[in-house]
C-alpha cells in the first residue's frame, strides 16, 4: 500500500484531538447547548455522508429524508422486541438496501431528473407508511421509549461522525475513490478507462444511505413519538444540501465547515423568527449557490491557489529581469 502523506497524518492527529475534546462536552454543559450540539453532530454526520456520494459525482440527492426516515422507522417498529444495537444494524441494512434499489433505478438519470426522483422518494415512502399505518396499524404514530439522554445521543452521533470520516478517508485512498473522481470529471472517460461506473455509483450511494439511516435511527429516541411527517420530512434533505454546499464538497471535512455555523444560525432564527424561517432558508440557499458555488472551503482554496500563482509569476518576472 501507499504510505500516508504527512499532511494527512497531521489532519488525523488534529481530528483525534478534536474528537477527544468533543467527547467531553456533555460533562461540562447541558440543556440548550447540549441539545444544539446534538443537532450539529447530527448534521455533521448526515452532511458528510451525503457528500461522500454527491460530492464527487455531482449528483444532488434529495433522498436524505428517505434514508433518515427508514432509519427512524427501523427503530420505531422493532424497539420493543430487539436491543438498540440490533436496531442500528437493521437501519444500516435497510438504508443500504433502499439506496441500492434507488441507485439501480436511477443509473441512467442525471442532473435534474435524479434530483426529482430522490425528492419524490422521501414523499412516496412517507405516504406509504401513512397508508400502512392507517389501514393496518390503527394509529399514525409509533412510540419510542428508551432510557437514552441527550448525552447518549450526542455520543452516538459523535461516534457515527467519526465512522463516516474514517470511511470517507479510506474510500479516498482506494480504487473506489479514484473511480469516483474520474466519474465526476467525465463519465464517458471513466467507462473507457475501465471503471464500472454503475457499480461504483451504487456502492457509494448505499454507503451514504446506510450512514444517513443510522443517523435517523439514533435520533428516534429523541422524538419519542414517530410520525411519517416528521421522519420523512423533506426539510431534512434540503438542509443537508444547503449545509454541505455552504461548506463545500471537494474535501471530506468541507461539509463540516458549513454545518456548524448554519446550525447555530438556524437555531437562532427559528427561535426568534419562527414564521420567517422558511423564507430565510430559501434566501440562504440562493445566496450560497450564487456567491459560493464551491462552498467556503472551495472558495478559500481558489483564493489560496490564485495567491500562490501570483507569487510564482512575480517570482518568474523578477527572475526574468535579473537575467
Amino acid at each position: 500500500m501507499m504510505n500516508i502523506p504527512r499532511k494527512e497524518l497531521l489532519a488525523l492527529g488534529a481530528g483525534l484531538a478534536g474528537v477527544a475534546v468533543l467527547a467531553f462536552l456533555p460533562l461540562v454543559t447541558e440543556g440548550f447547548w447540549l441539545s444544539l450540539s446534538v443537532n450539529i453532530m447530527l448534521y455533521a454526520a448526515i452532511c458528510t455522508a451525503w457528500a461522500l456520494f454527491s460530492g464527487p459525482t455531482h449528483l444532488v440527492s434529495l433522498a436524505s429524508a428517505a434514508f433518515f426516515g427508514v432509519g427512524t422507522y427501523s427503530v420505531a417498529i422493532f424497539i420493543d422486541v430487539l436491543p438498540f444495537p440490533a436496531l442500528i444494524l437493521i437501519a444500516v441494512v435497510a438504508g443500504a438496501l433502499l439506496a441500492t434499489l434507488v441507485g439501480l433505478a436511477t443509473l441512467r438519470l442525471s442532473g435534474v431528473y435524479f434530483v426529482i426522483f430522490t425528492l419524490g422518494l422521501a414523499e412516496l415512502l412517507g405516504q406509504i407508511v401513512t397508508w400502512v399505518q392507517t389501514n393496518f396499524g390503527g394509529t399514525i404514530g409509533l412510540y419510542v421509549f428508551t432510557d437514552f439522554t441527550e448525552t447518549h445521543l450526542y455520543w452516538m452521533l459523535l461516534a457515527l461522525t467519526v465512522v463516516v470520516f474514517v470511511t470517507g478517508w479510506l474510500i479516498n485512498r482506494s480504487r473506489l475513490g479514484l473511480a469516483l473522481r474520474i466519474i465526476g470529471n467525465d463519465e464517458a472517460v471513466a467507462r473507457h478507462v475501465g471503471v464500472d461506473t454503475a457499480r461504483t455509483r451504487v456502492i457509494l450511494f448505499a454507503v451514504s444511505g446506510a450512514f444517513i439511516a443510522v443517523a435517523g435511527a439514533i435520533m428516534a429516541p429523541r422524538y419519542g413519538y414517530i410520525t411519517p411527517d416528521a421522519a420523512f420530512n423533506p426539510m431534512t434533505s434540503f438542509l443537508v444540501v444547503i449545509m454541505a454546499l455552504l461548506g463545500g464538497t471537494r474535501r471530506l471535512w468541507g461539509p463540516l465547515v458549513g454545518v456548524v455555523p448554519f446550525t447555530v444560525v438556524m437555531d437562532f432564527i427559528s427561535g426568534h423568527f419562527p414564521n420567517q424561517t422558511a423564507v430565510i432558508m430559501g434566501l440562504a440557499f440562493l445566496a450560497i449557490v450564487y456567491v459560493l458555488p464551491d462552498g467556503v472551503t472551495g472558495q478559500l482554496e481558489t483564493l489560496f491557489r490564485r495567491r500562490r500563482s501570483i507569487d510564482k509569476s512575480l517570482l518568474a518576472a523578477s527572475a526574468e529581469e535579473g537575467r
Binding site: 500500500m1 501507499m2 480504487r175 479514484l178 473511480a179 473522481r181 474520474i182 465526476g184 470529471n185 467525465d186 464517458a188 472517460v189 471513466a190 467507462r191 473507457h192 478507462v193 475501465g194 471503471v195 464500472d196 461506473t197
Partner: protein, 243 residues
C-alpha cells in the same frame, strides 16, 4: 498475414432506419498499424465506438484473440485490453497530468495500483513528451498537450488494441510532425493500433494498410498507396469528376 488479433465480422449498426455501419468485415494483425479512413459521416467513428464498447452492434461479431467481444460494455472492454482516445479530446479537467494517466493504469487492462501505477504514469508522460509537467492541471494545458495526456492515459492500460480517433486532427504543421513521430514510435514498440484519420499525409507515412469506408460500407482494404489511388476511394472523397 499471421493470425489476426482483431476480427471484425459482418458488423452492422443501425440507428433506427439509418445504417451507420453496414456489414463491415476486416481483420487486424498483431502489431499492425491500420488506417481507417473515409469521408465525413462514413461510419468510421461509429466503427471505433463498436470496437471500444461505447455502442453495441446490431449484428455481427468482433473477435479479440478469438473471443467475441461484440456488445460488451466499455469498462469490460477496457479491462480486456481495448483503449481509445476521443475525437474531441477528453481529459479529466480537475486532475493533474499524472493523475489522468494513473486513471488509465489503475482501471485499464494493466490494473496497477499505488507506486507501480505512479511509476508507469511517469514513464508514459515522459514518452509522450510531457516530462516535468506531471503536476500541471490539465485544464491549463494546450490542445496538443491534452492530446498527449489522452494518449498516455490510453497506453497506461497496456491495451492489446489502441484506437485513435482523429488523434492528429487540429494540430498545426509542426505539432503534426511531432504527433506522427509519436504514433510511429508507439507502433514500432509492437502496439496494435487502429487510427481513424483525415490527415492523409499521416496515413501515407504511418499506415502500411488502410480500410476505407463510405456511407457505412467498406469500399477498399489494402496497401495504403494502392487504396488511396483506387478510383472508388477518390470518388468517395472528391466526387465523380475526379475519378
Amino acid at each position: 498475414m499471421s493470425v489476426p488479433l482483431l476480427t471484425i465480422n459482418r458488423v452492422r449498426k443501425a440507428f433506427g432506419g439509418l445504417v451507420a455501419v453496414n456489414d463491415v468485415s476486416f481483420e487486424v494483425a498483431k502489431g499492425e498499424l491500420l488506417g481507417l479512413i473515409g469521408p465525413n459521416g462514413s461510419g468510421k467513428t461509429t466503427m471505433l465506438n463498436l470496437i471500444s464498447g461505447a455502442l453495441s452492434p446490431t449484428s455481427g461479431n468482433i473477435l479479440l484473440s478469438g473471443q467475441n467481444i461484440a456488445g460488451r460494455p466499455a469498462h469490460k472492454l477496457a479491462r480486456i485490453g481495448v483503449a481509445r482516445t476521443f475525437q474531441l479530446v477528453r481529459v479529466l479537467p480537475s486532475m493533474s497530468a499524472l493523475e489522468n494517466v494513473i486513471a488509465g493504469a489503475v482501471f485499464g487492462h494493466n490494473r496497477l495500483w499505488g507506486a507501480e501505477a505512479l511509476a508507469l504514469a511517469r514513464v508514459l508522460l515522459e514518452r509522450v513528451g510531457l516530462k516535468g509537467r506531471e503536476e500541471v492541471p490539465v485544464a491549463a494545458m494546450t490542445y496538443i498537450d491534452q492530446k498527449r495526456i489522452e494518449l498516455a492515459r490510453a497506453l497506461a492500460g497496456n491495451p492489446h488494441v489502441l484506437l485513435l480517433d482523429e488523434w492528429l486532427a487540429g494540430l498545426n504543421p509542426s505539432e503534426l510532425r511531432v504527433g506522427i513521430e509519436l504514433i510511429r514510435e508507439i507502433s514500432e514498440q509492437g502496439r496494435t493500433i487502429i487510427m481513424v484519420e483525415h490527415v492523409m499525409d499521416a496515413i501515407r507515412s504511418l499506415c502500411s494498410r488502410c480500410v476505407v469506408m463510405n456511407s457505412g460500407t467498406k469500399i477498399a482494404d489494402g496497401r495504403s498507396a494502392d487504396v488511396l489511388a483506387d478510383p472508388d476511394v477518390v470518388r468517395a472523397y472528391l466526387g465523380d469528376d475526379h475519378a
